[in-house]
């Protein structure tokens, strides 16, 4: 057996643990019907925790490619592996607490979630077009099923139908674009693609086919991160899916989508320049295209959110807008921009999941996601209302909460690249967004309501919400660590 392969396997422990846990959960679900609920839950939590622990030592490993150039192991890949496993772990901890799942057997849910996590980890490290496509489909397919998990609920079913039909078309178009790129470069390895394009770059030939190919690939990537105009599935899917699934979708696959977005465009379609900046090729200048995508996404997301009365729908448009801000960090083509993306994603993980956890809790007590049923919640549960306000303030980007840092980094990266006008558009959008976030806060804290019954929050839900709150409030205290980790993750990402 090839010794390089064995060496690669030693660096593959997190993924192997996830796969092993997946298999154990499937077996446990069938074999032990009595203990099912707690056993599958425990197995999943332990497996994810173990995988997380195993990703940390990978930071010190020499960057290189694995499995014959299919995936890469560099600090950025390790960052995303840890991030994605953590996100999955938090969702698994929150899932049984939702009343939507009270009558469901969650064994298959955990299995699907583990499969999606494996797919996301591979997606974030992919350096080959085949691996990119395969892992993207793995993440998407698992997500389609998870959205439709409540078999007897009409909204859940409709959401999963819309999701799969839209998703399959987007990824099909993306595949077609990938084949065109394959034809032009003769290879599926992103590094080799860059070399071929660099060779032909001076002449600027083949620009039309490369443009077509890039637009088609953007269809698939845009679908995954819910950027306009590939976002149509997002509000319906977020609203119809069980809320823990919505929470998961809004952070994890989105982050994995950004990871491969960066990897594909930086490794395949750009070349590294001086001082950690990148430049695009003459034949395929994708920067303006993605810039337009970013602007349209954040603007549309914010404006559409203004009129929403359903919390899940509002959060869907909010997360579309946030995708627009994150894209800003990608467009500027500097390592500063990449670092900004990582910082933003970390802050986004905690504040978004936190907000969703509160939405779950409120649903558990009131059975509703409508804003009008959030009125006067301050009297009923000060804890939930104040926590929600903190998460919303962070989403708005108010200092000194975590969300501010994410936005600050992204805008600063744009300004430092002489794109101040771009940052200004982002800032204006943030101001517009304040309206709908404040509206929710006002509804909960100030509006009166007839129902004044106090709402008790169970201690485990409270603990989980605190886990989200602490980073949201206290991120500035750990600022040095976050800085170091994220800039270290970017430094060696010269596109393996």
């Amino acid at each position: 057996m090839d010794p390089k392969l064995i060496a690669d396997l030693h660096k593959f422990y997190p993924e192997m643990v996830i796969t092993g846990t997946l298999l154990l959960v499937v077996v446990a679900d069938i074999a032990l019907p009595v203990l099912r609920r707690s056993l599958t839950f425990a197995l999943t939590v332990l497996g994810l925790a173990a995988a997380f622990a195993l990703t940390l030592p990978l930071m010190a490993v020499q960057p290189g490619s694995m499995f014959y150039g299919m995936i890469a192991l560099d600090p950025m890949a390790v960052f995303f592996k840890a991030f994605l496993v953590l996100a999955s772990l938090l969702v698994v901890l929150a899932a049984p607490g939702s009343k939507e799942f009270s009558r469901s057997n969650l064994g298959e849910f955990y299995a699907l979630l583990l499969g999606v996590t494996l797919g996301m980890m591979l997606l974030a490290s992919s350096t080959d077009l085949l691996m990119f496509f395969l892992s993207l489909e793995m993440v998407s397919l698992g997500s389609y099923i998870m959205v439709g998990y409540l078999r007897n609920d009409r909204q859940s079913n409709e959401a999963s139908l819309k999701y799969i039909l839209f998703g399959a078309v987007s990824t099909g178009a993306m595949l077609y674009g990938i084949t065109l790129l394959f034809g032009v470069t003769g290879t599926t390895k992103m590094v080799v693609i860059r070399h071929v394009l660099a060779g032909a770059a001076a002449s600027g030939e083949n620009s039309l086919i490369l443009l077509v190919s890039t637009v088609l690939i953007l269809a698939g990537l845009g679908f995954k991160i819910a950027a306009v105009p590939f976002h149509f599935w997002c509000p319906d899917v977020y609203t119809g899916a069980p809320t823990p699934v919505t929470a998961f979708l809004s952070v994890a696959p989105k982050a994995a989508g950004f990871a491969i977005f960066m990897r594909f465009f930086f490794t395949g379609l750009s070349q590294a320049g001086p001082q950690l900046t990148w430049s695009t090729f003459a034949s395929i200048n994708w920067m303006p295209i993605v810039m337009v995508l970013s602007i349209v996404t954040m603007t549309f997301g914010n404006i559409a959110a203004l009129r929403q009365e359903n919390m899940k729908r509002l959060m869907a448009y909010s997360s579309i807008a946030h995708a627009g801000y994150i894209l800003m960090g990608v467009v500027v083509l500097t390592s500063e921009g990449l670092q900004a993306v990582l910082v933003y994603l970390v802050t986004y993980l905690f504040m978004n999941l936190g907000a969703f956890m509160i939405v779950i809790e409120i649903y558990n007590r009131t059975g509703s996601f409508e804003l009008k049923d959030y009125r006067g919640f301050y009297r009923r549960s000060p804890f939930l209302s104040i926590s929600m306000s903190i998460f919303l303030l962070s989403l708005m980007g108010i200092p000194p909460l975590a969300g501010f840092f994410g936005k600050f980094y992204v805008f600063a990266a744009a300004v430092n690249r002489d794109l101040a006008w771009f940052a200004v558009i982002g800032a204006i959008n943030s101001v517009v967004a304040v309206y709908y976030y404040v509206r929710v806060m006002k509804t909960m804290m100030i509006d009166g309501s007839d129902d004044m019954s106090p709402v008790r929050v169970s201690w485990d839900s409270k603990a989980l919400i605190w886990v989200m709150l602490i980073p949201t409030i206290g991120l500035m205290l750990f600022w040095d660590q976050v800085q170091k980790i994220t800039s270290g993750s970017v430094g060696l990402f010269l596109g393996n």
Binding site: N105, E108, A111, L112, G115, L134, E137, S160, G186, I209
Partner: protein, 168 residues
């Protein structure tokens, strides 16, 4: 020279079969006609694979697409309509705007393709591919190969779970 003409003729026959059947899939009002159109499309594509020297792939196409996916689609159609209603007319959305858009897409693709200088590697001579594909699965493509098996596992679990009857 005669053999060349014959093989060109056969190629055009299969190309026409593929595209004609695809047109039936898209434009036919009866669902059953669409399904059978899809059958012939798959068959035509498999024939084109043979022309391209991809023998293993052609066999795989027939077995999985026709033998698996098409049968699945047929079951899907049969199970989602009342049995006696096999006439199954389907309505359509606004056809004209869609037609214009699709024509634009097709035009752009053709324009782009004709203007391109494709990568000039060697042209592969036709020879049996199965053994080579098998070796590649175990070497350069081992990771996607293993990942695909986990992928199929979750697809299996998920599909079975959604369709299963009974209370949650």
């Amino acid at each position: 020279m005669n053999a060349n003409l014959v093989s060109q003729g056969i190629f055009y026959f299969f190309a026409a079969l593929t595209l004609g059947s695809a047109a039936v899939v898209v434009f036919s009002r009866s669902l059953i006609y669409s399904i059978f159109g899809l059958l012939f499309t798959f068959f035509g594509v498999a024939a084109l694979y043979v022309f391209l020297g991809a023998d293993f792939l052609a066999a795989t196409q027939m077995v999985i697409y026709v033998g698996g996916i098409l049968v699945l689609l047929l079951f899907g159609v049969m199970l989602t309509h009342k049995l006696y209603d096999l006439d199954l007319k389907t309505e359509t959305f606004q056809v004209i705007p869609a037609l214009l858009l699709v024509a634009a897409v097709f035009g752009t693709l053709i324009l782009a393709m004709t203007r391109t200088t494709w990568f000039s590697g060697a042209v592969r001579q036709p020879e049996p591919t199965t053994a080579e594909i098998g070796k590649l699965f175990m070497r350069e493509y081992i990771l996607p190969f293993e990942v695909a098996s986990v992928f199929l596992l979750i697809a299996l679990i998920g599909a079975a779970m959604i369709v299963r009857k009974g209370a949650e």
